[in-house]
């Protein structure tokens, strides 16, 4: 590709509507145009879920790993729609299905979760995004999400 090496800096807050305490992406790694994106979330003991999950044994909830995956995927969908010119302000991304998710290792405070996502199928406004999560280069989770749209509230 002629624009190889040209990477775009993506600001998370410009692409996600989630805010504290539900923002699960800290940083997007420089994005090379395409259907692939990498993002990072640093798991901190300061986060509210650790008050109860679990008081004597803080472990990052698997559902929040899915949320982190979903937010990374939402950024990619957003970027893709922008590139395609198919973005619609009146529609809102929602998860339609959580498919084939596997959790291979538990996550703990201090872990740096790196999520890699790819759009593998598109049908109208619906898309399937597949990906994997890594900590220190080791795979900790993988799965697919089905994204759809609803009318924005």
């Amino acid at each position: 590709m002629s624009n190889e090496g040209l990477k775009e800096e993506i600001q998370v807050l410009d692409y996600l509507k989630q805010r504290f305490p539900f923002l699960m992406v800290d940083k997007v790694l420089p994005w090379e145009k395409g259907n692939f994106l990498k993002a990072i979330k640093n798991v901190s003991i300061n986060e509210p879920q650790f008050q109860g999950h679990f008081p004597s044994f803080p472990i990052f909830p698997g559902v929040l790993t899915i949320e982190c995956f979903a937010q990374t995927a939402a950024i990619l969908v957003h970027l893709t729609e922008k590139a395609e010119g198919t973005m619609r302000e009146d529609l809102f991304d929602v998860i339609g299905s959580v498919l084939d998710f596997r959790f291979l290792k538990p996550l703990f405070p201090g872990d740096c979760l790196e999520t890699h996502v790819t759009i593998t199928k598109t049908s109208g406004v619906n898309r399937i995004v597949e990906g994997k999560c890594y900590v220190a280069g080791e795979e900790v989770a993988s799965g697919k999400l089905l994204f759809g749209k609803i009318k924005a509230p």
């Binding site: 339609g96 498919l99 199928k121 049908s123 089905l146």
Partner: protein, 82 residues
């Protein structure tokens, strides 16, 4: 894979998606007439077919796969040309 086996597997997927018994799934009733069916479920159906049969399915083929009968025909063709 025999056509009857393909149909049975498709019925299993449909049963799981729509909370039905495998025996009660009509082969020629279009999915859009089923409760809970929408465009998102269509893409989910496609993903589950790909997993089950190990084939890649172009989303454009979804229009041709509106019933158990027609979906099994498409899958048979994909399996044979693989």
């Amino acid at each position: 894979m025999e056509a009857i086996e393909i149909k049975l597997k498709i019925k299993g997927i449909v049963a799981g998606m729509f909370d039905l018994q495998t025996d009660n799934i009509p082969e020629t009733k279009p999915f859009p007439e089923m409760a809970k069916y929408d465009s998102m479920r269509a893409l989910e159906f496609l993903a589950k077919l790909e997993n089950e049969f190990g084939v890649l399915i172009d989303p454009d083929l979804l229009q041709k796969m509106a019933t158990v009968e027609s979906a099994s025909q498409v899958i048979s063709e994909l399996l044979h040309v693989k």
